[in-house]
Amino acid sequence: MRKELTCIGCPMGCQLTAVVEGNEVVSVEGNTCAKGASYAKKECIAPQRTVTSSVRVEGGVLKMVSVKTAEEIPKEKTGSCMKALKDICVKAPVHIGDIILADVAGTGVNIIATKNIDPAERALA
């Protein structure tokens, strides 16, 4: 199977053509450096993404806290990850690194907070 993709290694944005057989990339064309080949190999077999979003906070100085997957997760899990975050509401205080949701969408990866949210009564002026 042939796959067309754009390399993200640098602003060149080479148009790559990868030939995939089974679970292996057997050839990459169109790349002008080694970055392109390794990107195509990873992206064609097991594309991964860090998913970032924000969820509601109760009793905090702000209504939302930003969150991310602690590691990259398989790209096709992005949708179910977002669904799992839809109705989550956490209580302030929240600290960077706090686990907001463990093992999101069966990936084994936790959702963690990326911002500190103080409780409302301790709000800075």
Binding site: T6, T78, M82, A125
Partner: protein, 420 residues
């Protein structure tokens, strides 16, 4: 209230925090940051996506995480800061007039001022798109704040005009939150955004990017009902017969950023046409002695890591100004030529410089397999090949203080692009 500070920093975003922290490390203990928002961190607080800090921390952080590291630095260093505080005016002798709820109107006298107010998005009014003024038209950054901080989704069916990074990031963000992003239209024949964002924010979700297209009409009186797109020719004029109506309830504009220099202008400081930011020398000092500038108020950056580096230089220089003063006298002009739109700094006084002087610049077009060249007067001293350069990516060259000092009588440094 009336207080004196050695250094007053205007703005508590990444530039202001890095400048303040580095001035503190250089031995200045009496520093005040004035911030108009309710928290430090500036625009990073709403940039919840990852990709920040690869240069500075060698790891990939989200915007709020990157900000938090500098907020901790500021707090640990015991640097004074005032939130919810709006600076109204800075007098030529560095008296800062500001106001907030606790103090009312007050003035602070500063030994040195560091301008770090950041930039603002170009609004609809700057684009001359005809139509009524219905609800549903937002700048991409406003939508980003609504979704990520306030918790509102501003629309369900979205068209985005402009393919800068904020527009691309918002295409993904709105999609993940359940909106349908129908198209991203870009006036230019190339996107101003990073390749990574085009792939991961558009291609991942099958969102089409229409290059050489613009919005020529907005339909709807109370709320946006749709927009008309048209292809543009090489002069960026819409081509009759290429119009296409796209129903939508929301139009996001990601059409450029402009440094926010009202305070700077009020002080009578010289601005550069190409950047809308102040002209600065090797010390990041503006045309007004003891007034420094860094970050997006100086020129719009694409990477916060470079904002941090530049602001640390400004903080160090301001500290030097307070402690021992900067040398005055004939400076070497830095000229942007042949495809280089501008340089920061635009003049160098070698005696004041650090051992290595970073000159940052942007090119005006896409250049493939071309050379960055640096001339000292007529002599070419650097000739470096680049596979690609684009207006969306800031470039830099590093000059050595030692070499500049060896050349007595050097008048001009020219930075230019030479094509194959």
């Amino acid at each position: 209230m009336r207080k004196d500070y050695d250094i007053v920093v205007i703005g508590g975003g990444p530039a202001g925090m890095a400048a303040a922290a580095s001035a503190r490390e250089s031995g200045i203990t009496n520093i005040l940051i004035l911030e108009r928002d309710r928290e430090l961190g500036g625009i990073l607080n709403q940039c919840i996506h990852n990709g920040f800090g690869l240069h500075t921390f060698k790891e990939e952080l989200t915007g709020p995480e990157y900000a938090a590291r500098f907020i901790s630095k500021v707090k640990e260093a015991g640097i004074d800061y005032m939130l919810n505080t709006m600076v109204l005016d800075i007098s030529p002798d560095k008296e800062v007039t500001a106001m907030n709820r606790e103090e009312g109107l007050f003035t602070v006298r500063a030994g040195a001022v560091i301008l770090a107010m950041g930039c603002r998005e170009r609004p609809r009014g700057a684009l001359n798109i005809p139509g009524y003024r219905p609800a549903g038209i937002y700048s991409a950054g406003t939508a980003q704040r609504l979704v990520n901080i306030e918790g509102f989704l501003p629309g369900r069916e979205v068209v985005i005009l402009g393919s800068g990074d904020i527009g691309l990031i918002m295409a993904r963000r709105m999609t993940l939150e359940g909106a349908k992003v129908k198209v991203v239209a870009e006036l230019m024949p190339y996107s101003g955004g990073l390749k990574r964002n085009i792939v991961q924010c558009l291609d991942d979700f099958g969102i089409p990017l229409k290059l050489s297209h613009t919005v020529i009409d907005i339909d709807g009186k109370e709320r946006v009902k749709g927009v008309t797109l048209a292809r543009v020719d090489e002069n960026r004029k819409p081509i009759p017969g290429t119009e296409e109506y796209i129903p939508c309830d929301t139009l996001l504009l990601s059409v450029g950023l402009v440094p926010e220099n009202e305070l700077t202008k009020g002080m009578g400081i010289d601005l550069m046409r190409a950047t809308s930011g102040p002209k600065v020398n090797e010390s990041m000092e503006t045309s007004r002695e003891g007034v420094f500038a860094c970050g997006n108020v100086l020129h719009v950056h694409d990477l916060v890591d470079y904002v941090t580096q530049e602001s640390e230089e400004a903080g160090k220089a301001a500290a030097r100004y307070i402690k021992s003063g900067l040398k005055r006298g004939a400076a070497v002009e830095v000229e942007a030529a042949g495809g280089v739109r501008y340089t920061v700094p635009s003049s160098i006084q070698p005696e004041n410089a650090e051992d290595k002087i970073v000159v940052r610049f942007r090119v005006g077009d896409v250049y493939k397999d071309s050379w960055i060249s640096v001339y000292y007067d007529k002599e070419r001293i650097l000739h470096r090949k680049k596979r690609i350069m684009a207006p969306g990516e800031m470039e830099q060259v590093i000059l050595k203080k030692e070499e500049l000092q060896k050349r007595m009588g050097l008048k001009k440094i020219t930075i230019t692009i030479e094509e194959a």
